[in-house]
């Protein structure tokens, strides 16, 4: 039985994941290491790289903090509104990037609801962050909530009766327990933030050197017949994602030790 399961799983993964990703890596490396290096170190690529990292470095911690908070509210509080929170949390996902772009323009655009704000939101960093957060909002909460539910709050209650305040309880009991869920959520959130294309495409303005993220760069290279360059940039994204995952796993191991 175990072998059947294993084979099915591996088969599914091979067809759906491994082979396509291998193709990306292969196509990226095809022109040879020197060309690939040149491709990912053009000024445009470097600026896109940094922008993507910055956006991710802002969006993910925000998602982590609010995600844990939301998960706690959903699974540990008595508020009636938590069911609503629960449903709203999944909404952003169901919204196609075109609509997200439209929505953000309607709010922050020149004629938008908040268009009068003196801060430049659209077509600059804040809008990219907003769009990225929008599409990656559910992850941390969705990973942490089921774990919170599964482990129950016995230990937390015990800690409370022993005199620990809420922050202590959280830091010493809850947080270690949800570690895996949180880590997974952060990784998912990061990967999603890295790979976001559609919504960012609408609200970034695609100003070369300013608001081009790596995903937008990939598209631009496809547009300009630079397939090898496009794959190289995609491979870079994949590398970053894997690096983050490795980092998380390492941090996990050390926390456990």
């Amino acid at each position: 039985m175990r072998h059947v399961l294993r084979l099915t799983a591996i088969g599914y993964l091979l067809t759906l994941l491994v082979v396509p990703v291998a193709v990306v890596v292969y196509r990226a490396l095809e022109p040879g290491p020197a060309e690939v290096w040149a491709s990912v170190t053009t000024p445009a690529a470097i600026s896109a790289f940094w922008l993507t990292l910055i956006v991710t470095a802002i969006a993910v911690p925000l998602n982590a903090i609010f995600g844990v908070l939301t998960a706690l509210v959903i699974e540990r509080s008595r508020s009636r509104g938590r069911r609503l929170l629960d449903v709203i949390l999944d909404l952003p996902f169901a919204v196609s990037p075109v609509v997200i772009g439209l929505a953000l323009v309607l709010v922050y655009g020149r004629d938008g609801w908040l268009g009068w704000l003196p801060v430049q939101v659209l077509f600059s960093l804040p809008a990219i962050v907003l769009a990225t957060v929008f599409v990656s909002i559910p992850f941390v909460a969705r990973e942490v909530a089921p774990v919170l539910r599964e482990i129950g709050d016995d230990a937390e209650q015990a800690a409370a009766t022993l005199g620990a305040n809420r922050w202590q309880t959280f830091r010493r009991i809850t947080l270690p327990a949800i570690r895996w869920g949180l880590a997974t959520g952060v990784v998912l959130s990061t990967a999603r933030a890295l790979g976001e294309f559609g919504a960012v495409s609408v609200v970034s303005g695609k100003v070369a050197g300013d608001t081009m993220t790596l995903t937008l760069l990939v598209e631009q290279r496809f547009q300009n017949f630079d397939l090898a360059g496009a794959y190289a940039a995609s491979a870079l994204l994949a590398v970053i994602a894997v690096a983050v995952l490795l980092l998380m796993t390492l941090m996990q191991r050390r926390a456990e030790a």
């Binding site: 445009a44 655009g109 077509f123 695609k206 100003v207 300013d210 300009n224």
Partner: protein, 334 residues
């Protein structure tokens, strides 16, 4: 662990500081530096996607001239409709260029471009092109005319005119030749798929789909220049594609200097080298051999202008082309 997470925003700030200090060159092509992109003197060029390769050459040329010295550029390229909507929504733009006139008119209506944008000697255009057939190298299926497209077994690719405003030119070409009946037969019998945009259609074609791609002349020449193996045919009876170009209302005077340069010989020659038909008559004449004149060439005027065309043909609910698209579908299963 949460402590480490909290470090990330600090890291972000550090990264921002680093990035601001670093080079922020924009063009992928031969080192066109714009300096740190924060100078007040930067001109913003917002254009549709395909001429990026040309502007990548024109801008450095311009900056090497006396008038262009010291002028920095911020460029943005994307699908014509997307770019136009972005400018309308607040994307800063000093010089704009779109592949269909309604994308420019949108900005006029928003008060961002003067209504007089087309009243210069070139009627507001920067280049033109013609609707053409892109075929496999050697033209194995011997496709020369619109009628050839209707030959049994010929598969035609054209981007969907509702997802790509620029694709409307292709449909107009077909409509110009044989009216709605021709368009109907073409779409129902021969157009199997309609990619989202012109470039995607080209990529599809290059990767082996279809026998013929309806596209612009310069798409073919640009692709060829980039090493793709294909040929193109200009049918006898086709439509002229007008590429619009203008400066915005609040643009600094350098914008007009740049605009004048783009319409002048050296820049127009750059366009010609990539296959765009220059509007500058002198340059057009010099490159005559590259740009054969089709026997019959219709412009948008023939159809009464874009507003009429969009209403009658391309309205998503009542337009004739929309109705033909409806006929394409199999009845819905519930």
């Amino acid at each position: 662990m949460i402590r480490r997470l909290a470090l990330l925003p600090l890291l972000a700030v550090a990264l921002v500081a680093a990035a601001c200090g670093g080079a922020s060159d924009e063009n992928e092509a031969a080192g066109a530096t714009s300096g740190a992109g924060h100078s007040a003197n930067a001109l913003s060029l917002v254009a549709y996607s395909t001429p990026q390769v040309v502007y990548d050459e024109i801008i450095p040329d311009f900056r090497a001239t006396a008038e262009g010295k010291g002028i920095d550029f911020k460029t943005s390229f994307g699908a014509s409709g997307d770019q136009s909507r972005a400018v309308e929504a607040g994307l800063k733009a000093d010089v704009v260029s779109f592949s269909v006139e309604p994308d420019m008119e949108r900005l006029v209506e928003a008060g961002l471009v003067e209504p007089t944008w087309r009243e210069n000697q070139h009627k507001g255009l920067v280049t033109t092109s013609v609707v053409s057939f892109i075929v496999r190298k050697g033209n194995p299926k011997n496709i020369k005319t619109w009628d050839d497209l209707l030959k049994p077994g010929v598969e035609v690719i054209t981007p969907n005119p509702f997802t790509s405003g620029a694709a409307k030119w292709n449909v107009l070409g077909a409509y110009n030749y044989g009216g709605l009946d021709y368009v109907r037969e073409l779409f129902i019998e021969h157009v199997k798929v309609q990619p989202k945009s012109g470039r995607e259609a080209l990529q599809d074609f290059v990767s082996g789909q279809g026998d013929v791609l309806l596209s612009y002349e310069y798409e073919a020449t640009t692709a060829q220049k980039k090493g793709e193996e294909l040929d193109y045919v200009i049918p006898d009876d086709t439509v002229r594609i007008d590429i619009t170009f203008a400066t915005t209302k609040d643009a600094p005077k350098e914008a007009q200097v740049f605009a004048d340069y783009v319409l002048s010989e050296p820049a127009q020659q750059r366009f010609a080298d990539w296959g765009y038909r220059p509007v500058n008559k002198a340059v057009l004449n010099k490159n005559k051999s590259k740009f054969p004149t089709p026997r019959k060439l219709a412009g948008i005027e023939r159809f009464g202008g874009w507003e009429k065309v969009n209403d009658e043909l391309f309205d998503p609910d009542t337009g004739s082309i929309a109705k033909i698209e409806e006929e394409l579908g199999v009845p819905m299963e519930s």
